[in-house]
Symmetry: C2
Subunit: 294 residues, 2 copies
């Protein structure tokens, strides 16, 4: 009953379109199948073998190398491309979307995406910008099943023009995929917070690897180094784009971190036991508090 | 057959002594019971309730608030105290050890420990300095069962005077507890490498928490921040001591990291796409190589 009601915005025979069937696009299609979404699953990707694999797996019903014939059929479109490619896609294929379609994306930066979409979006389409806080250090459709959504956060930065019933539909879809918390915020706040929780952490992991030439260093590993640098196995072109497109907030966050690091280094170098102990105890308390709210 | 042979250095009715029954001491006693070590398990701790709990759990046979009556009975002593306390303990109780006893420690810094032990150790005792690369962000005997040894590294920094049969016994014991790799190295190399894989990572985690006032930040978390800062829930007095006692190597490692971080920041701030992409691709390759050797 509830599902039927929530699916209403998609009509009786919904057609779901996935643009880009890599790690995230694949993970969404797989998770939506698992969650029991009924309707046709269409996907567009530049890699023919990925489409064939997904058809064989029963993850999608039809694959397309071009969105031309696919977009006019889709009532829901999930854009799973890197931010710049997503915007180029919207520019190029705007006329092809089905009237009334709900579109959403997964780009890790939202200000440039939202600003551009607001300028170019057709009046009869709805685009709700989103960012699923999930992923793995692996890339591509082959690893899509390893990308868990259970217990994860999902951030939406709705546009003023978004229809409430579409936002409700999308939030319900997100929760049915296993995400536990949907946060609504502005693109600017998203980009500032994500620069800290995600991008800065990737920059730190990359720096830790960049500064260490000894590839046998894990002989001396006890888990911390491994945990801190797992994300250094990153999709380099994607993260290059995310870092540079969000360079303002990211550089601010790096410098905020550098200030703390430098202060703690000075306490260590100066053997300031009392102050260091106080700092570490405060850190412990704050992280414990964060875990409670996590 | 093999077990009997390896236990030989401990005699027919071995008595194992645990000095400090916190997270690590408790984890060792529990793991040794599980691995089937036969003999008496004695433990000394300043906390009476910990000793009572461990006796009730069947983890130890007898608990002692002072090592006075316990040490003369132990053929094997595992010192599970913070580095400075371990040295103070050795200074204070040296006369009480049983002649021929094998002693080992778990201190996270080895140069100060080895230097001091070499100066003060009785001629009829053997002390093999060690460092199990295991732990958890929790502390105390109550969490000892959460401290897994499976698949972990164990570093030994043997002294020139260590008896080969004692080293062989200790290595066998370590492997029977689940550790997969025993690395033998010098105290100086240990302290330099550990400053990187362990201490620097804890300093980074602490700095990440120190620089962020928003305790609701995990609403925007996607796993990276959580993974990088789990170790910020640290035993503040212990890590204060480890950082300050190893400040030379640690400050060098922090500065090595700062140089890489600063270089990557400059690439981001300057929108140097090609160079950033190159750096991140090299990082990805190096981390992948490290994982293969891990």
């Amino acid at each position: 009953m509830r599902i039927t009601e929530m699916i209403k915005p998609m009509g009786k025979n919904p057609v779901y379109g996935f643009i880009g069937l890599g790690l995230m696009g694949g993970a969404f299609a797989i998770a939506m199948r698992k969650a029991g979404f009924e309707g046709r699953f269409l996907a567009c990707d530049t890699d023919r073998r990925t489409l064939q694999a997904a058809e064989r797996d029963g993850v999608i019903d039809e694959g397309f190398l071009s969105p031309q014939a696919m977009l006019p059929r889709c009532s829901f479109v999930l854009l799973c491309l890197p931010p710049k490619s997503a915007l180029r896609f919207m520019d190029a294929w705007m006329p092809a979307f089905k009237s009334g379609a709900l579109i959403t994306d997964i780009a890790g930066i939202k200000k440039p995406v939202c600003g551009h979409i607001e300028k170019i979006l057709r009046a009869d389409l709805d685009f709700i910008p989103g960012h699923p806080m999930a992923g793995t250090e692996k890339s591509g459709y082959a690893h899509a099943r390893d990308c868990g959504f259970q217990g994860r956060n999902y951030i939406l930065t709705p546009l003023a023009r978004n229809k409430p019933e579409n936002i409700a539909f999308l939030k319900d879809l997100i929760r049915r995929l296993g995400f536990t918390r949907v946060v609504e915020t502005s693109p600017a706040i998203h980009d500032e917070k994500i620069a800290f929780t995600s991008q800065l952490c990737h920059v730190i992991a990359a720096s830790l690897i960049d500064c260490e030439n000894d590839t046998s260093i894990t002989r001396f590993g006890g888990g911390s180094f491994e945990d801190l640098t797992r994300i250094a196995i990153l999709n380099a072109p994607l993260w290059t784009q995310l870092f540079i497109e969000n360079s303002g907030p990211l550089v601010r966050q790096i410098e905020k971190f550098e200030t703390s690091l430098s202060r703690i280094k000075a306490l260590i170098a100066g053997a300031q036991t009392e102050k260091l102990l106080e700092t570490l105890a405060a850190v412990r308390d704050r992280r414990t508090e964060m875990a409670k709210r996590g």
